[in-house]
């Protein structure tokens, strides 16, 4: 629509411009016509004078022929001229000229009449120089008129040129506008096309998201089934291995050598380790897809409970120092419990041999979050391993020196991230490690 309107506007501008140009043309044509008519008038006057002189000199009637024609022609030329002229100044000049022409014609007629009586009476009139003076006057006025008309012509040509320029400019602008409107049209069409394309793309994207969501939920269902299969079918034979080994030791242990008993215990220990590995994989997998509902959780209670659990499974024991209060965070209870348990378990496990782990748990406020740090006096982590240590199944040490599945810290990271937090590791002042995680402070915490 805009493009069409612009086109119509430019067309209108061109028409107006051309009309103005045509008007200018007719003005120039009239000037040329006036100049021609003025020249005609002068020619007729000259013809009258020429005829009169011929008649005066010869006295022959046939010399009067141009005079007679001119007598008829002069008033006609004059009237043509006054009809053509529109410029007020020129009209005034013509009116000024009229009595002189009439006087001239009267003088000519007088001399012609006197010549009928003889040459001398006519020559007397001629010798008064009245006729000559009239002619000079008439020529002067006509020259004046012609000059003025020339000036007008110049003005009109200039005006015409202006109009031409204006028309050219208008035409140029029209052309430009047309090009612009064409470009605008192209742009609008392109815009429309690209918006149509955008709609197509977004529809396709929606479709793909939908399809992927369906595939994802299918994958999740499969994962659930897979996890169930692992937890049940994989652990059943382990239970059997472990059970038979223990049963054999209990029932027939007295008949076995020390080495045989050692083998039995190795079977049982391997089964226990494999069971722990399966538990951790399941926990890690569950963390990826379970919806974690966050509620306010007191960190001190969680740390104390986790420490009891760690002590229950650790024969060497560990000392823990809690710098309370630790605060309250928004977390999923079981996941928070597992995260803290894994950190404390790590801290109590990775100590130099024949040493008791000393663990310090502290917290500090970081904006709207609370950062809990678990610091140990253990073997520490080399800087180049600090990133990889949070990846699943990454082990920096052999199972013989430090038992574990290599999933503990991966569970920590995934758990903390699923609860909207972050975790990290830095060297502790005493040479050990300082693991930390951050979670949003509970709203009650805000009020304190």
């Amino acid at each position: 629509v805009l493009s069409a309107a612009l086109l119509a506007l430019s067309t209108l501008a061109v028409i107006v411009g051309l009309n103005a140009l045509r008007g200018g043309r007719s003005e120039v044509n009239r000037t040329t016509e006036i100049q021609r008519q003025a020249a005609d008038l002068q020619t007729s006057l000259r013809a009258a004078e020429t005829g009169q002189r011929g008649y005066l000199l010869t006295g022959l009637e046939r010399y009067l022929s141009p005079y007679d024609k001119a007598l008829v022609q002069i008033p006609r030329d004059y009237s043509n001229l006054t009809r053509s002229v529109r410029d007020p100044g020129q009209l005034r000049r013509l009116q000024f000229l009229r009595p002189f022409i009439e006087a001239k014609l009267a003088e000519l007629a007088e001399t012609v009449r006197l010549r009928e009586r003889g040459l001398e009476p006519a020559l007397r009139v001629v010798r008064t120089d009245v006729g000559q003076a009239l002619t000079e006057r008439i020529d002067a006025v006509l020259a004046d008129f012609a000059a003025a008309e020339q000036a007008l012509l110049v003005q009109r040509v200039e005006a015409e040129e202006r109009i031409a320029r204006r028309t050219t400019a208008a035409a140029g602008i029209c052309g430009l506008l047309s090009i612009l409107s064409a470009l605008l049209g192209v742009y609008l069409i392109y815009q429309q096309r690209s918006s149509e394309q955008l709609i197509r793309y977004s529809r396709r994207l929606e479709r793909e998201v939908e399809e992927r969501t369906i595939r994802l939920s299918e994958a999740n269902r499969e994962l659930d089934a897979f996890a169930y299969t692992i937890s049940h079918d994989l652990r059943a034979p382990l239970r059997a291995m472990h059970g038979y080994a223990d049963a054999l030791e209990e029932d027939e242990g007295e008949r076995l050598s020390e080495e045989g008993l050692g083998f039995l215990r190795a079977i049982a220990a391997a089964a226990v380790r494999m069971n722990a590995l399966i538990e951790d994989i399941l926990a890690y997998a569950r963390l990826a897809r379970e919806d974690l509902v966050l509620r306010p959780q007191r960190l001190e209670a969680a740390v104390n409970r986790a420490h009891e659990d760690v002590l229950a499974g650790d024969l060497r024991g560990s000392e823990i120092l809690i710098e309370d209060p630790l605060g309250t965070v928004m977390a999923h209870g079981p996941t928070l419990q597992q995260v803290i348990y894994n950190l404390l378990s790590n801290a109590s496990k990775f100590v130099h041999s024949h040493q008791i782990a000393r663990i310090k748990v502290s917290s500090k406020r970081c904006g709207d979050r609370i950062r809990l740090a678990v610091e140990d006096n253990g073997i520490g982590v080399a800087p180049e391993h600090r990133d990889q240590i949070f990846a699943p199944f990454s082990r920096l040490h052999g199972v013989e020196s430090y038992p574990g599945t290599g999933i503990g810290l991966a569970i920590v990271r995934r758990g903390v991230e699923r609860m909207g937090g972050a975790c990290g590791l830095e060297p502790a002042t005493g040479g050990g490690s300082r693991f930390w995680f951050e979670l949003a402070a509970a709203p009650t915490e805000e009020q304190e």
Binding site: Y228, H232, A236, R239, A240, H242, G243, D246, A247, E250
Partner: protein, 139 residues
Amino acid sequence: MTEAVEMLVVEDDPHDLALLRRAMRRASVDVGYDVASDGDEAVTWLERVLAMDSLPRVVLLDLKLPRRSGFDVLAWMKSHDKLRRIPVVIFTSSNVGTDLDRAYDLGANSYLVKPATPSDLVAMVAQIDSYWLGVNRIR
């Protein structure tokens, strides 16, 4: 099939069953029991003893079973006029919370996770005996 059958054990895993038998010997649990190795067998067995009017004192029921699952057997029993009063002890390797909730919703009387070691299993069998069967013995 003796008249002394006091417990039905529904268990498909021969190793679990073997360790359970050993645990019962070790715990000196002297009860007559029969074994059904899948859900269908359990239902058939229960229908037969129902017809003979000699119901067991307790059913030890695994959840993951071939053909008919433990949940189905449980639901069938608990909606049955004559069978719904028989205590059902779920005995499973599943420690998944949803399984526990579902079992109790369907009317399970106890939910025990299979222990990792034989000695723990012995202790558990002793508990089952004293709690679910001992009352009967006192009487």
